[in-house]
Subunit: 229 residues, 6 copies
Amino acid sequence: MNPVVIRTDKRAAPSDIAALAEVGVSTSHEAMGRTGLMKPYMRPIYAGAQIAGSAVTVLAQPGDNWMIHVAIEQVKPGDILVVACTTDNTDGMFGDLLATSLKARGGVGLVIDAGVRDVRVLKQMGFPVWSRAISAKGTVKATLGSVNVPVVCAGALVHPGDVIVADDDGVVVVPRREAATVAAIARKREALEEEKRRRLASGELGLDMYAMREGLAKAGLVYRDDEDE
Amino acid sequence: MNPVVIRTDKRAAPSDIAALAEVGVSTSHEAMGRTGLMKPYMRPIYAGAQIAGSAVTVLAQPGDNWMIHVAIEQVKPGDILVVACTTDNTDGMFGDLLATSLKARGGVGLVIDAGVRDVRVLKQMGFPVWSRAISAKGTVKATLGSVNVPVVCAGALVHPGDVIVADDDGVVVVPRREAATVAAIARKREALEEEKRRRLASGELGLDMYAMREGLAKAGLVYRDDEDE
Amino acid sequence: MNPVVIRTDKRAAPSDIAALAEVGVSTSHEAMGRTGLMKPYMRPIYAGAQIAGSAVTVLAQPGDNWMIHVAIEQVKPGDILVVACTTDNTDGMFGDLLATSLKARGGVGLVIDAGVRDVRVLKQMGFPVWSRAISAKGTVKATLGSVNVPVVCAGALVHPGDVIVADDDGVVVVPRREAATVAAIARKREALEEEKRRRLASGELGLDMYAMREGLAKAGLVYRDDEDE
Amino acid sequence: MNPVVIRTDKRAAPSDIAALAEVGVSTSHEAMGRTGLMKPYMRPIYAGAQIAGSAVTVLAQPGDNWMIHVAIEQVKPGDILVVACTTDNTDGMFGDLLATSLKARGGVGLVIDAGVRDVRVLKQMGFPVWSRAISAKGTVKATLGSVNVPVVCAGALVHPGDVIVADDDGVVVVPRREAATVAAIARKREALEEEKRRRLASGELGLDMYAMREGLAKAGLVYRDDEDE
Amino acid sequence: MNPVVIRTDKRAAPSDIAALAEVGVSTSHEAMGRTGLMKPYMRPIYAGAQIAGSAVTVLAQPGDNWMIHVAIEQVKPGDILVVACTTDNTDGMFGDLLATSLKARGGVGLVIDAGVRDVRVLKQMGFPVWSRAISAKGTVKATLGSVNVPVVCAGALVHPGDVIVADDDGVVVVPRREAATVAAIARKREALEEEKRRRLASGELGLDMYAMREGLAKAGLVYRDDEDE
Amino acid sequence: MNPVVIRTDKRAAPSDIAALAEVGVSTSHEAMGRTGLMKPYMRPIYAGAQIAGSAVTVLAQPGDNWMIHVAIEQVKPGDILVVACTTDNTDGMFGDLLATSLKARGGVGLVIDAGVRDVRVLKQMGFPVWSRAISAKGTVKATLGSVNVPVVCAGALVHPGDVIVADDDGVVVVPRREAATVAAIARKREALEEEKRRRLASGELGLDMYAMREGLAKAGLVYRDDEDE
């Protein structure tokens, strides 16, 4: 790995990004055939944020946030910074100063497979972060990494320009070229869910609504009354 | 294990269930002689809920929520769905559609040794969940498990009809036949605590209130002034 | 280890403790040259508390809270109880009764490398706790430990009388004799950050503000336009 | 839980125990319909041992091995001691002295959801142990637990007299009354595997031997040649 | 993700694969600029194996080994099967029957981000496996995944045909097109290490051999004699 | 923390170090009143080594082994290098070249709260290591730490010159000034154990040998025959 910063304009269409933000993580993930999720250890620092944006990727070294400074210059309005690390690390690579800078450049959120700090201020700023840990541990600026190269972040492959969707359920990566298709499928799925929700709320069973009884019986499911006293 | 669904009417008395809901997890657990707790990795998806109900148990397969659909038919008003899994798994087996259905059948909560998703909506619905993880990971409906068999959930043995008590401190299982006794002991314990709280609040030391000084001395505890500069 | 309770008056100056409370964990940690942090698994039971106080230390046994009762007698107004354990343990060693007692003695918070319970009540009381776990698991009073001896708590060395600073970012230990120096450095650091925050908010890049470009180039960082279609 | 020691003669038939020892963990587990396994964190302290025996169960307190001393009196030749703990704990509750005693009473192994120590000596003695951890941490003898009550050990329910099977793959619990049936099924399964092994070794594919191709196609599996350069 | 099996002939040159096997994991990883490593939780089931081979990739579902059967048909002599899973899972997806089949087709090893069983037999067969866990937990054949698609396995991106190098230090992935370059760099690195090893063995310090003293001094390192009694 | 290297001659008496090596970890730990143990995640890279030596301490940065090179100059014959890290890190900071150098200077082992690599060669060299992880992950030489300052390593406080005892049970730290006392107590303890071992091997119960029956009865232990069919 030769340290490199790639300048790129690749982004998905804003309307597709907006659509994915609206449907959220679980629906986007289902619309992709159940792929693209980051590991569930990635948690928001506060509840309630739901965003989507284009990934500016960072490959950082453990305990070192130098490349985050480098990456912010590559951020365009609406982007999300995605920080992967060359090894498992929970140090607080990002705090309120970096958030101030990232926000000033138009960045709308941070996804970091490491630690974050100043979380009270970040919440006050309304700057959403999904991270592996909250940690005050300070970092150095000593070793190069890369910006806008493909990275594996929390178990998911992220290319620069991919659409990141994040909410209280976690983080999912939608490949840039699939954003339009996924957004379309996701919207259709949501529409269908509305009708299902109504039927289930009225007391109809999923067993009947999804016509599962035959399949269960064929698979060998047996019903029995409790005879035990 | 032959997959089976047991139909059962076994429930503890509603008044005992209500009493256990009122005293909460820690007191119920103490009243049982410090038994019945699930592992502390079981956390509520939002703070503040405190419930009790009768367990409808599910033994699910990893990445598969088929049996949750089956189990909902067995739920009666006031019940809590308790989902164990045949192996450690964090997939999002339960979301807002299942919650809508479970709620429509009278279910008052979910305890799941796996993942849950749509947590923002669940919170809006006021549907409480205690889970091992929050994860958007979608599941299949392919392999049978069982409903209303005894299960080990998060380290605790649960029989169908046992009383589940859950609050911000975690989840405890009160065996159905012991519910009345435990409720009675718990209430007595609570009454005693009120008096203790008053005395401690006035500055009395636990050392004196519990008469510990003699026991500590006998065990060999030594007091010394700090001589170190 | 012979079980012992050390009576001590060692405390840092109240003004320094107050100053550290104001700057919080991350800044105090940076001011100490990036040392003194507890592991990031130490989390507050509710968001928003930010405190500092003098450590009264406890070395407890697993599943045993006897020494916490002993320690409360040694607490003076403004102190923080710091509980270490001789092995990894998540049992609920501390609940609302102990909090009532500790608060009555002037204690302002608890830092415990074990579990805590009654967290809903603790939140209502406004009594802040940083812990390894939330667990209803009850404990015994059977085996001696020590009070006000040096302990390793969540990876950090704590001497009695050291200043504990805790907020949403975690917990840091400032050695008693260094409190004044650290407070002074921390305040200076904060003052500098204000100016940086203003510049970053106006869109200036960290790359320029910190004059990083030359160092990055010297280290070998290369910029390249995306040629990939 | 009132502390109690149950004296019991319940054991499975020696021939069934011997048969289960011979087939080992994975086959026994499959013969039970894929149930009864302890969590995979239970590992042998040395490779190569493969045993079965009747469970004498212990419910211990964290950091306390008093009840192990009590339990050894209840051990009969061929038994395996199974130690569960009321909470997660890795302390070294068992070492070479206890092993000497347990062996002298006819015990053939230990399964402990906690720590073990003196592992070099245990290996020299040829005394097999499956544990959650290896730890030198010493324990006290201060708090009662129980012997020969049902316990949950490493996620599996164990009744006194159940057959424990343990080898390099882990530990499985065969309910006493099912031992004969499981042994019979397991032997049959082994016989079938011999033939399968021969065919696979000759190069026949599982796809053909198990006739999977039709099922895969029906499920929608597609084959494609790599067109990518 | 539409389930798919890609048939491909892509392989690196046998001589490069052999060279990488010879230098092993740490040297290959360094030769790649410190990239390509799987997480260190991937451990060999027995010590001493050191191999390299071309990746045939599998994306499996939790608790389901259907696609491993499918994948074996795609294995050519010298290949290594690399199994990723759509979620964290430790079930025993692979045992001695599959090993017999894989070996018969020419497969030389398995890398699996899940569990493996029958480890005693696998060791006797001399069939090396690197896995996340050892577990007897049986699996089903119910849900499709894919074969020979790019996968993220234990944190590393693997394309079909990439060279997998595995030994007691772990597992590294060398992209197919970089195999020749990496092998060349690795060999050179090894040659240099021989000379370094000789000098260090003679007592020369790394401080001098690598000429570090000036850099350390410039960075601010201070030497001091211990004045403390 | 200002980076510093302390030159020191402090060592315990060679005869005490030898005695501690002979009794091993568990006995030394008991002789110290059950203190001084490192966390049980510290495991030997191969079984069977049992050593003691004087600690030369290192405080390293994550992913950075610069200070290990610095520390080797401070090692005297018989010493053990003890590497702590400012944060949790598993990178392979130490391999066969450093082992060659450390051995050439008289170092007899390594205890590292991070990763180690080249483990096959280290085993061939007979150079024992206790570590948190095995990982091929390469490190940089970019950021200063300290040598021969007090460190917290794997949960234990270590001062330069303290005696480190390590074997298959783990690692324990004996403070330099207590080495003679601890060695004496440990030897006495071992002598007593010989007699106990003989009695237990002859079938005498611990219950009787330690005269536990009265204490158990007083604590409330009840014996009952199994009445259950």
